[in-house]
Symmetry: C2
Subunit: 748 residues, 2 copies
């Protein structure tokens, strides 16, 4: 099975947005604030406009519609208006005949700002006398869970532990930086770019241009990685290109370079998590009490959703009868945070799963055994009181990974070294609710058209981000129609020709989008079944397989799929349909945080074997096993890809990626100083273990796997480091320097 977008990518033929050239195209570049907080008094463009090839400089005043792109909170302008709130805040767009002229002009746009006192930490931001970053104050959102009686639970605990965990930023480092190409036509505009939701981009552009949605056409260009980041950045970058193109009446290409991308794009939320856990004498979790503070940066963006997701998952994939959570998302004068693979779950699970090991240690229990004891079973309820009656594969995942990794042997073997190199093995679990957080309505759509030559056009609003979701959709369609996968052609993601499919985030691409694909395929199949019955002269069930259509009862009565399609067209029965998916209802009480937060959950366990060099502090991750309950594995190879990618990104997050900020200024906006895992950092072996505990309400029972394996990677590493060295790191990233300091006892 070859991923359908593979050849074009491997051969380099695929055109990303930045490769596109349109007749009469101009180039844009964004002028940004160099001051973290201040009053924007004016923008002087006269010098810039004097540079040859420079066509225009647009500011907030030139936005035809509303200058508002806030997602959860109405706090973010497309271009800064009267205030700048972080170093990198967009102030103006320069448009020129060439990239070079645009770049040059940017240096000559003068931005007049009166500095204001700035705030760089959440602690400072929460002080009563802190400068207000937004008129409504420095708290963007709060969250909570009130389940059972936590104080009572703690009072009767056998063991309690309480720790504070601190997590820093993570940068997405998608290979392709942000880019958008906007092409105005009479009264309309088409915008092509990297993104995760063409429909959200359309909606945002509709707002900033003051134009009906029907006049805006959004096409998702081939997108070179996203990891959640382009869900947030898509509308912002496309919006800027759209404003420029719409104002000037010519196509405009806007491409960020790496520095601009790092300086201005959303990051994984830094967080401070105070986490107290209580267990009884038998090692059963009694309760957790959690306090979460997330740093959203200058704008709330998806912060409220990320906070709620962390809140809903705060007790981990265990049955915990008493839960108390308080959370808050806090503004600071730094680049804004936002969507990133895991979406709050990596942060909360780092705390929760570190706690699990600390508890196990205190109880004298094996940490895997301890987890198995507490793991959610069908019929039990999650952190937020959601009872799961099926598709709860955590016990099977734990059982199988124990076996596959040789956990018990490794655990005995390692953790005893006293020399320079010390090996350890650690485990961590996670669960991840599939689809959008906060009970947002969720649905998806797809289109299947069988052409007269029996080839199939498949269309979805779900985006191809390199993850291969749409190959999964195509497999579902091929399975239902009983045809080879290569008869199916995936069309562009284009808002003009598929109904709103909602964003490609929350690991919903396959679950929500694929189920819509299945609905469309079934509708088409039912039409073809009628035609086949006519051809075959039978009344009973019809089967579709390997391009052959036959009667279930008498398989010798068979006809080719192609022939059935031809006959359908001859009869005027067009084998085409839209398919829809509507996620089962979700709801929650914002006062108690209790409810049905997600339709279903993916469960995952990672076991990490690593070696610590106690001289240099270097950690080498040697082997990682990752057992995931994905519901149903539509494509095992794609799942392996997702799991391996997530593990490596999790290793980067855990051990090496560090955004260095000074007074809100990012000091390492480049890939020399911001280091991510390279080939030599990847584990020798990454072993996915697929658990299939089918979900009842999706195509073939599939859940999602895009984010899952990242989540338990950092705590499994922390736990393995502890196993190897006895040091307990409660911070991310766990850089060499920090490990050395801990080893030297400075911060232990």
């Amino acid at each position: 099975m070859v991923r359908l977008d593979a050849w074009d990518k491997l051969s380099g033929r695929l055109k990303f947005t930045g490769d596109m050239k349109v007749h009469g195209m101009l180039h844009a570049k964004v002028v940004r604030s160099k001051i973290p907080h201040g009053v924007l008094k004016g923008v002087s463009d006269s010098e810039a406009l004097g540079i040859p090839g420079v066509i225009a400089v647009y500011t907030a005043e030139d936005i035809p519609g509303e200058n508002q792109v806030g997602y959860a909170v109405e706090d973010q302008p497309l271009l800064a208006y009267k205030r700048v709130r972080f170093i990198g805040d967009p102030v103006a767009i320069v448009v020129a005949e060439s990239r070079r002229s645009a770049w040059l002009a940017c240096q000559h746009v003068e931005v007049d700002v009166d500095p204001l006192p700035a705030v760089f930490t959440v602690e400072d931001a929460l002080k009563p006398d802190a400068p207000k970053i937004h008129p409504h104050g420095n708290v963007a959102e709060t969250s909570r869970i009130r389940k059972g009686d936590v104080d009572e639970a703690f009072s009767r605990a056998y063991v309690t532990v309480e720790n504070v965990y601190r997590l820093e930023h993570q940068e997405h480092v998608y290979l392709e930086t942000e880019a958008a190409l906007a092409i105005p036509e009479s009264g309309r505009i088409t915008v092509i770019g990297g993104m995760q939701s063409p429909f959200l981009v359309r909606r945002m552009i509709s707002r900033v241009l003051g134009l009906e949605e029907s006049r805006i056409r959004i096409i998702q260009a081939p997108t070179g990685g996203a990891f959640g980041g382009k869900d947030d950045m898509g509308p912002l970058v496309c919006g800027k290109a759209a404003v420029a193109a719409y104002n000037i009446g010519r196509p405009v290409l806007l491409v960020y370079n790496r520095e601009e991308s790092i300086v201005s794009s959303n990051k994984r939320h830094p967080a401070i998590i105070r986490y107290a856990s209580a267990v009884d004498r038998n090692g059963k979790l009694l309760g957790v009490k959690v306090d979460i503070t997330m740093d959203v940066g200058a704008y709330a963006n998806r912060g409220p959703y990320v906070l709620w997701r962390a809140t809903f998952h705060s007790a981990g994939p265990y049955h915990v009868p008493n839960v108390w959570v308080d959370g808050r998302a806090v503004y600071t004068n730094k680049v804004f945070s936002g969507s990133f693979r895991g979406f709050g779950d990596p942060q909360i699970h780092f705390a929760a799963e570190s706690q699990m090991d600390i508890l196990a240690q205190k109880l004298g229990m094996d940490p895997l055994e301890f987890r198995l004891k507490n793991a959610l079973r069908p019929g039990q309820d999650t952190t937020c009181g959601q009872v799961l009656d099926h598709s709860v594969g955590i016990v099977e995942a734990l059982t199988r990974i124990r076996e596959a990794s040789g956990w018990d042997k490794l655990r005995r073997l390692h953790g005893r070294d006293k020399g320079r190199y010390r090996r350890g093995v650690g485990v961590a679990c996670a669960y991840h609710g599939i689809s959008t957080s906060k009970g947002v309505p969720d649905y998806s759509a797809a289109s299947v058209i069988v052409n007269r030559d029996a080839t199939v056009l498949y269309r979805s609003g779900i985006c191809m981000l390199g993850q291969g979701s749409l190959t999964g959709h195509a497999k579902i369609v091929a399975e239902i129609l009983g045809i080879p996968l290569d008869w199916i052609r995936i069309s562009e993601r284009d808002t003009d020709s598929v109904p709103d499919s909602r964003p490609t985030h929350g690991s919903r691409g396959l679950m929500a989008g694929g189920t819509a694909a299945a609905d469309a395929a079934w509708k088409v199949r039912r039409k073809l079944e009628k035609v086949a019955r006519k051809i075959l002269g039978v009344n009973g069930a019809i089967r579709f397989r390997n391009g052959i259509v036959y009667a279930e009862d008498s398989p010798e009565k068979a006809v080719s799929f192609r022939k059935v399609v031809e006959e359908a067209y001859r009869l005027g029965i067009i084998p085409a349909a839209y398919g829809f998916y509507h996620l089962p209802e979700r709801y929650f009480d914002p006062e108690t945080g209790l409810g049905k937060a997600y339709a279903c959950y993916t469960f995952i366990v990672n076991v990490v074997e690593l070696q610590v060099d106690t001289l240099t502090g270097e950690v080498r991750v040697l082997r990682v096993w990752s057992a995931a309950d994905v519901g149903k594995a539509i494509d095992p190879l794609l799942i392996r890809g997702q799991i391996e990618g997530a593990i490596v990104q999790g290793i980067g997050y855990a051990l090496m990626e560090r955004l260095v900020l000074r007074e809100g200024q990012i000091l390492n906006p480049n890939l020399t100083d911001y280091t991510i895992p390279v080939a030599t950092d990847t584990p020798e072996i990454m072993e996915p273990i697929i658990v299939e505990d089918e979900y009842r309400n999706s195509a073939f029972g599939a859940k999602g796997v895009a984010e899952a394996a990242l989540i338990p990677t950092p705590p499994a590493i922390a736990n393995a480091i502890n196993h190897a060295t006895d040091i307990r790191l409660k911070e991310i990233p766990m850089t060499r320097e920090k490990i050395l300091k801990y080893l030297e006892g400075e911060e232990s």
Copy 2:
């Protein structure tokens, strides 16, 4: 009501294919045969390739798939192979960096042809010893009707008349000449061009490139007129651009100039029709005996369909119990004939309606009265025995036009002049089966997506050719959803995103396409009705009007359409649907020609008042009334547009348009020498009279009107000339020279 494509056209903003510019685009030009019939021995391109900027010269050998674009018969290569059959037959495609280089190179491609004896008239072609133009001989198709006993009918007739009618070519003269832009991508190709059926173009290109349909994307560019011609030319021109672009791997633009367009594009079929009619003493038609010979030119193209349409309509819109027709489509070494507004019906009705006047004269009856007496009534059968049980508006049309035109008075007033200027008034009827001929299966599809802001995206495979069909579709959707027309946006015609809607021909655009639109709109409405019931707390019927949705029983319970849409999305109910239309079954027996040839018929009557200048032979058409039974007038303004355009094109056909050929060479391939009606040739008054005899199986009862008014225009003119001057012209065109000769008695 403003036609939705009007502003862009009026303002000149609309980009036709020839205006398009794509990065890296090359220009193509076609090398054509200068010899009417011969053996193609070779093509020498070495000199052409030496011209700077020339990239390639492609011949039949370079076609990746099958070199076959025959429509009804497999007789037509995309590029001539071993044979050339008319002056203009395409032999090679030159591709160059500029239009100029391509043009230059064409002059230097040497085409080596051994001439063969050629045939230029159908009479010569039918001779036993005639050179064979195709291996299967010179007859492309035959047709027939055998209804009742014609000999018996003639034997008991009171009056019989028999005449031979001769009709020449007509050129489409669409304002925009043929053009196509082909853009290859890895393993795929997109072709944009003027056309009438993107799906047919896809199918043809699939064949010539040997590529599955799913790898070919066809987009109908704004098309500057078509009149049937681009149904035939679309695949040929797009196919040539596609072969060049596919071979070379770069975008290729191919634009015909006017000369190339006239030399190489299909024309209205010349015909020779021998027509005998018999009536009884009471003026009731007893029978007709018709012999039709159509000249298809070098390739059959749509000839067989045109022949059958003429055959099915040969007795006119009257009840004629006994019909005998023999027809044949014959090859000659001339430019091929094909689809043209009316599609065989103008030819056959010219004969049939001239006969009607001649019969009336012999009977001493008023010609309108005579027609009224014989006009089809519900329950009676057509030429081919098809019983029409409803929507037969010919009697009402005749009655109303008699009144509106003041027929009886005009008839008395004119026809008595003896001076230089003589006025006359004539009438002619016609009927025109809606949709494709020969019982071809017919269906259509459409897509309606209501966006979250309540604007609507409408998509159809029916083409916009300047006729405004899709505005009609949008009106249907607006009516059903009860929203203003300007909330609806019509998307591109794109094979990637709408199911096969079949061609835009046979006046089916509104009837078939509009009914699919209605189906889609109704499906969406039913979804929204459910949501509205929930919002309004009612169970009964829901009405949609003026953007308001309300309960039929209690209209005070109302909510805005927009709100209903928002709530639908909130509930995950996506207001989107494909709509389909499947034409009621048609069939006919090829032996007897009897059956159900069309789903329904548009009926039309024209009354023409004109003045003949007996000194110059000039005919001035003064006033035309045109009464059309359109089923239901979806848009009266668009109907007026179609009727006026058809009348003027009919005047051109009747009086002035003449393609001059010598030995297969068109001597007037330009608009200086091939004259069409200009503003001063149009009647002072053209008065459409809309008759609405609703058709049961289409949206709101609409039939089609695109072709109708052209059909009776030439015979009404001939009849009016006869009324004015007593001369009877049995030829088209009735040029001044011919009228003078008739007046001088030379040919009367």
